[in-house]
């Protein structure tokens, strides 16, 4: 049956012999369509294979430089009923400033600089960390003496014949300069120690953490031939440790847990026997902690752990002492501290203890042990001793007395020194972490940067900016209201946020994706598409050249 008319026309057209012109135009149509697809497809491919990268504020992060100092102002209030003029106050402030500057050591090239400054005014200090009251009264004897109380006050006794200004200037400058030196020396990354002999634990306190897990363990070496032990730990903790925990609450949280290990087994090191006691020397103590059989695990995933052990040796080894030095001197406290781990106190039972009895350490008996633990805990947290002054006298002041906070375990001066240390450390950690983060993100262009990272980085930068605000605040009457606690909290928050952004689980993606892999992925697709395209283009150009040559020849022959 013959085909319908339309179809006949269609097939006739297709079966017609192809002329040069029709092939040429077809080729051009094909070429143009391929090029059009590429033109539209390329941007689409680019946008769909791009990874999501939130914009990080790199310029703001790069603005922090080592040499820009952080100014930490101290405000001292002079409270006295002796006559003192505004002029005097200004003179004290100026000479204290000069003395502080004179005692400042040069900064190392990579050191983040901090400047502690003192300003002096009159009146009573507000109850904010950073403001201190110096009460001056006339001395009954001829010596200048300073009595530093547990709160943020100090009493200065000056005899009538001595000028107040140099004394106060020296006192203030010594306090401030000493603290600046210590803060610079105790940086986490600084290495000023020179060999094991000079190692001191105080140079190696734990890094700041928002939470610490503190465990108290009563270890009984041998309950079989010895005694079984127990302790009134809850009362002891609430009486002696809880005030310390509460004092530190604005800065960090200490969670306290306790346990009793009834059978610890013997330690890996056997104590040496003397005539009627056994002893451990310092080099034996390094192997004392027998971790495999002492179950001191914590359920907390991240907080640093501190273990404080009250060790009851077996009855044959008792009394066990720790000896100090070559002179075989017995240590009064029987306690030692293990760096970054905790501390151990050895509890010796009375000589007439009957084997098989049940001993309970009462709260009163535990007071001395808790004292040792508090001393060790203070070392681990980083509380310096004898704050604010470590010396017993200065050239002008003959008698300096620093009172210890026997009620809480930490005086306000010590707390302030601690929070200033943490302020400096956390600020440095936050800035270096943010800078590492930007370096990482720049070096891996293929890595996804989520929006949460950007949020955390922005918040961290905000907190870093707030530090300056908290430190350099002034009230409406232009008196400084620097708040060191708030600045420390800002710095801690900045550091936590920066670290949480840096350690975010999403920051691990294809780490190594070299260009060879990219060619290997794209070449098998694009090469088979590109080759016919290129040959087609070449043919079109050749045909065009042919046509041009033909027309030129035709013209030539025509002319002739």
């Amino acid at each position: 049956m013959p085909l319908p008319a339309k179809l006949r026309v269609f097939f006739k057209r297709r079966n017609e012999p192809k002329t040069v012109i029709s092939v040429h135009s077809e080729r051009i149509v094909v070429l143009v369509s391929i090029l059009l697809v590429l033109l539209l497809g390329l941007p689409l491919w680019w946008s769909t294979t791009r990874v999501y990268r939130a914009e990080l504020p790199t310029e703001d992060i790069a603005k922090f430089k080592h040499i820009d100092p952080l100014h930490i102002p101290f405000v001292f209030y002079i409270d006295t009923n002796m006559s003192i003029t505004v002029d005097s106050i200004n003179k004290i402030e100026k000479s204290a400033g000069l003395l502080i500057d004179k005692q400042r050591a040069l900064y190392a090239p990579n050191e983040w600089s901090v400047r502690y400054q003192a300003s002096v005014c009159q009146g009573a200090a507000p109850k904010i960390p950073g403001h201190y009251t110096l009460t001056i009264h006339e001395a009954s004897d001829a010596l200048v003496s300073v009595d530093i109380a547990v709160g943020r006050t100090a009493t200065v006794s000056v005899p009538k014949t001595t000028a107040i200004e140099p004394v106060l200037a020296q006192l203030i400058s010594t306090m401030v300069a000493k603290e600046e030196q210590e803060a610079r020396r105790r940086r986490p990354g600084s290495h000023k120690s020179s060999g094991k002999a000079a190692w001191k634990h105080s140079d190696r306190a734990l890094k700041y953490s928002a939470e610490y897990a503190v465990t108290f363990t009563l270890l009984n070496e041998d309950p079989v031939d010895g005694v079984s032990v127990d302790w009134d730990i809850e009362q002891a903790v609430s009486q002696y440790i809880q005030p310390f925990v509460d004092a530190l609450r604005p800065l960090t949280k200490l969670t306290i847990t306790s346990q009793v290990l009834h059978h610890a087994g013997s330690p890996p090191i056997k104590p040496q026997r003397a005539n009627n006691y056994t002893y451990l020397s310092s080099d034996m103590l390094t192997h004392f902690v027998n971790s495999p059989s002492w179950n001191l695990a914590s359920t907390d995933p991240i907080s640093p752990m501190l273990n404080f052990i009250l060790y009851v040796p077996s009855l044959e080894s008792q009394p066990m002492h720790i000896i100090q030095g070559d002179a075989h001197k017995q240590l009064r406290t029987n306690a030692f501290l293990v760096s970054q781990w905790g501390g151990i106190t050895i509890a010796n039972l009375p000589k007439d203890t009957i084997p098989g009895s049940h001993i309970v350490f009462s709260q009163a008996q535990m007071q001395e042990y808790m004292g040792a633990f508090i001393a060790q805990l203070r070392e681990h947290i980083g509380i310096r001793r004898d704050v604010p002054l470590a010396c017993k006298s200065t050239p002008l002041i003959k008698n300096i007395r620093v009172r210890q906070a026997t009620a809480t375990g930490i005086s306000d001066w010590e707390l302030d020194a601690l929070l200033r240390q943490w302020l400096v450390d956390n600020r440095e950690t936050a800035i270096t972490t943010l800078q590492s983060l930007t370096r990482l993100v720049d070096s891996m262009q293929n890595m996804v940067v989520m929006d949460e990272i950007k949020t955390k980085v922005d918040q961290s930068l905000f907190e870093l900016g707030a530090i300056e605000g908290a430190l350099n605040a002034f009230n409406p009457s232009n008196a400084p209201v620097t708040d060191h606690l708030k600045a420390c909290q800002n710095a801690a928050m900045a550091s936590t946020l920066a670290e949480s952004a840096f350690f975010d689980p999403s920051m691990v993606s294809m780490l190594y994706f070299p260009d060879q892999h990219k060619y290997a992925i794209y070449l098998p697709f694009f090469l088979p598409v590109a080759l016919p395209l290129l040959t087609a283009i070449k043919r079109v150009l050749k045909a065009r050249k042919e046509v041009a040559r033909n027309s030129k020849d035709a013209k030539k022959t025509k002319d002739e």
């Binding site: 986490p188 190696r204 902690v289 695990a297 106190t345 780490l511």
Partner: protein, 329 residues
Amino acid sequence: MNLWQQAMRAAGAILALYTLLCCVALAVADPSGEAKMEQFFDQDDHTNNWAVLVCTSRFWFNYRHISNTLSMYRTVKRMGIPDSHIILMLADDVACNPRNSYPAAVYDHPRKATDLYGDNVEVDYRGYEVTVENFIRLLTGRVSVDTPRSKRLLTDDKSNVFIYMTGHGGEDFLKFQDSEEINSYDIADAFQQMWEKKRYKEILFVIDTCQANTMFSKFYSPNILSIGSSRKGENSYSYFHDYDLGVSVIDRFTYYNLEFFESVDMSSKRTMADLVGAYNTTLIYSHPGVRTDLYSRKLNETYLTDFFGAVQNIELTTEAFPIGQPESP
């Protein structure tokens, strides 16, 4: 010109272009010696030691890799590092494998003198949890928030970390679980991440695979000492074959390391130079390599206990704090 010559020309042009692009890519990707990384030159004052022991192979016939890792685990524990500071990653459980005719035991010698598994073993990453991603996350600290403490590497800037890897490997790669691989660039980048965030003081990287020395050739962070079991192009061989179990039970390189450590204990003063000097190429059947250019201390001044022992710096508490005592007037 005929078609063949045209095709050759085109191929030549493409090849030249490709080579040029590759050269450019390599030059750009080369880890620039970046600024001089600050090296710690002061005395050794690290405060804790960590160990990360990784076995990357699964299946019964790779028994020897698991027993390699477990014997290093026992050595490290014997030298004093506690379980809380050891991350043990075993890609398979051969102790409780149905083909194990000595159930719940893993031996590294046909004599079966020591059971490496025992009843005091803590495997942190087991079976399918041992992946490249988990390993990189562990090293860089980017673990998910619900990871328990025993699976985190909680090192700080004063930690010496001993990292031991074993399995099947080749040039610049190490096979994980027979399904994926980690390459030396990834490990180098992970170490650099650790360095940036001050997560280690010194690293001792020991690897026992075929062509192991290539795995540490790409490191560029400071304070890393690397030891590998064989050169590029060389295989590492297994040692004892146990006819009861039907598999090889230890590798040569690891075996000779363990033999050396039998003479070392917690208080030993032997150094890394002693360890490296004790390697005997004729017995190990391959050439172990050591890379020290990134390491600041000399091998003969580095004690084995710096990496393998538990460091405890102690300080005597001379004075207790007068807590609870009445304030003096």
